[in-house]
Amino acid sequence: MATKEVVTRVWIEEGCIVCDACEAACPEVFQVTEDSCIIRPAAMAAEFNKPLTGSIRDAAEECPVDVIKFETMMAEVSDEAPTAADPPAEPASAKVPAAVPAKPKPAAAAKKADKPAAKSAAAALTDDETDPAIAALLRAAATRGGNAGILRSGDIDSDEWRRTAAAQLPPDARQAKLVEAAKKASKDPDAGRRTVAGGAALAVGWVAFGTGLGVSIGPAFGRFMMPNVLEEPDPRIRIGPKKRYLEMAVGEVNEDYKPQGIWMIRLDDRIAALNIICTHLGCIPNWLPNDKKYKCPCHGSGYTFDGINFEGPTPRPLERFKILEEGGIVVVDKSKKYQHELGQWDQKDSFLPV
C-alpha cells in the first residue's frame, strides 16, 4: 500500500470563458454548456473524483483562465493494481472513458459505440515504438481533436441536463458566488486610491522626463535631419512670350512645358500654370484632349481642364504655380503654389489676366 495525493472535491470559480478545454481533458467531471461550465452531478462525490485525479489536474492546468480549483487529501492506494486504482498514471487510459469502470455518466449509452475505436486508437498509439514524449503529444492531439473521449455540448440531451440542474443546482456555482461576495466584503477601500495616486505620480514623472529629453535633444536632431547644402534647379522657368498663350482657345491646354512640370491653360479671363503632379499620390496624369480631362494612370483620378477633381479617388484639385510677366515673357515660379480648396486661386500672381 502506498500513500498518494488524490482529489476529493473540485469546483469552478467565476470567470469561465467556455473554452471546452476542461471537457476535452476530463469529460467525466466537466460539462461545457452553451454559456457556462458545470461540474457533473456525479463528480460531487469524493470517491468518484479520486481515480480521476490525474485528468482533473490536467484540466486545471489547461484552463486558460485558471478558474478550476480542487481540494486534495492523502489516501492509500494499493500497489497490486496501480492502473485500476490510479488511472492517472497512464494519461491515455484516463482520458478515454472506456477505462473508467462503471461510471454513472448520462451519455454513456451514446458513447458505447465509440469505445472500440477509441480503445484501438489508444492501443495503437501506446504500442508505437516512438519517443515517449512524441507519443504523449500524439495521444494528446488525438484526444483533443475528436477522439471518442470528448463529450460535446451538442451530444448532451438538453432536457436531462436541465432536470438535474433544477433538482440540485451544482454547489460549485453557489460556492463561487459566496467566495466572490466574501472577497468583495473584505476588500480594503483605500487600496484602489493608493494605486491610482502612485500611477499618476509615475505618469507625471515619465511625461516630465520625456518632455525634458524632447526639448533638449529635439532641435539638434531636427537640424541634423536637414541637408547642409540643397541643390535644386532654379524654380523660375521662362516659358516664352505672353502672346503665345493669349492665342490659345478657351479650354485649351498647352503641354509644351510638361517636361518642366507645367501645363499652361487658358480660361476665359486668365492664363494659369497647373502643376502636373496628381494630388492623390503624386503620379503624372495624362491630358486626354478628346475627353477634355486629365486622367491619372495610377489610380484613375480625373481632373477637368482647369484642374478641378471630378472623378476617381483624388481628394483635391491640381495645384497652380505662381505666374508673372517680365518684359512680355511669361515666368512661372514653381516654388510658390496656390490651392483651390484654400481659396487661393483668385490671389494675385496665381494667374495672368488676359
Binding site: 467556455v18 498509439l125 477522439n147 471518442a148 494612370p297 489610380h299
Partner: protein, 368 residues
Amino acid sequence: MVNYLAATSALDDVKHVINVLCEPHWFLIISVVALAVFLLKYRTVTKPAVAGTIGALCTLAFLVSCLDSNFVKIVTKADNVPIVMMMVLVGFLLWLAFRQAALNDERMERGEPLREAGADDKVLVWPDLVYIELIALVLCTAALVVWAIVLPAPLEQPADPNVAPNPAKAPWYFLGLQEMLVYFDPWLAGVVLPGLIIVGLIAIPYIDKNPRGNGYYTFKERPFAISTFLFGFVILWVVLIIFGTFLRGPNWNFFGPYEFWDPHRPAALLNTEFHDLFWQGLLDRRLPEHFLIRELPGIVLVVGYFVVCPVLLKATFFRRMYLQMGFIRYNVMAFLLLMMMLMPIKMALRWMFNLHYVVGITEWFLNV
C-alpha cells in the same frame, strides 16, 4: 464558311458575357458566392473527382480563352505569368487544406482518431533534411535560369519623373493595396488600413485563444475563424490582385479579359459626395457653410457603423463568442472585422453611386 462564322459569333457572344461578368461588381459577387458555396459544401467540392473536374474545366476555359489575342496579351506578359501560376497555386492549396479538413471532420464524427494522430513526421537533419534542401536548391536555380531565359524581364526606357506609364502598376503583391487606394483617401488606404492588416494579423493569437485546430486540419470546429480569414485573404487580397493585374487597363479603367486596352475608351465616373446626396438630394437644401455641419451626417454614419454594429452583433450572431471572449477581446475583434468590411462596402458604394467620400473634410485632409 457559314458554320465558321456562326461559331465565331457564338464565341463572341460568350466572350461578351464573360466580359460583362468580369465587371468589378459582378466579379466580386461571383467570387463571394463561389467562396460561400465552397465553404458550405466543402466535403463534396473537395472530393478528388469533383475538384479534379472543376480544375479541368478551369484549365479548358483558360486554353480556349488563349484563342483570343487580347487575353493572350495580358496573360503572357512577363510580369503576369507568375500571377497566373499563383492563382493556380492558391486554388490547389485551398483544396489541399480543405480536403484534409473534410477527411478529419468525417473521422471525428465517426469517433476515429485523426489523420495526424499516427504520423511520425520527425526528420533527421543529416542526411534527410539537408538532402531535401539541396535538391530544392538545385531545382529552384534551374527553374529560375530557364524562366529568365524564356521570359526575360522587360527593359523599358530610362525613368522620367515627369512621365508615368499608362497604366502604372505596383508590383503584383501590392496590387491589392493599389486597388484600395482607388476607394479611400491616401492616408487611410496607404497608412491606416495596411497598418491595421499587419496589426490585426499579429493580434490573432491574442484574440483567438481557442485551442481547437492546433496541429490538425479541421473546418467543422473552426467555421467562423477560417471563413473570416478566407474572406480577407481570397476576396480582399487575391481577388484585388486579379483586378489589378488582369482587369485594370489604361487610365486605370476596368477592362474585360477579352477587351482591347483602348486608352481612349470613354468612362463616365463623375463623383458624388455624400454631403451632396444628403443635403441637396434628401433635404433639398443648400450645403451648410461650416464644414463640420456639412459633414455631420457622414460622421454620424461612420461613427454609428463602428458603435452600433458591435452591439448589434453581440446581441445576435456573436452572443456565445462574446461570452467566450470577454469585453475587450470581443471589441477588438469586432473593430478589426468592421474595418475589414469597410473595403467591400466602399467598393460597392463607389460602383453603385460613384460615391467619392462619406466624410469629406478636405480642409483637414480627413476623408473617409
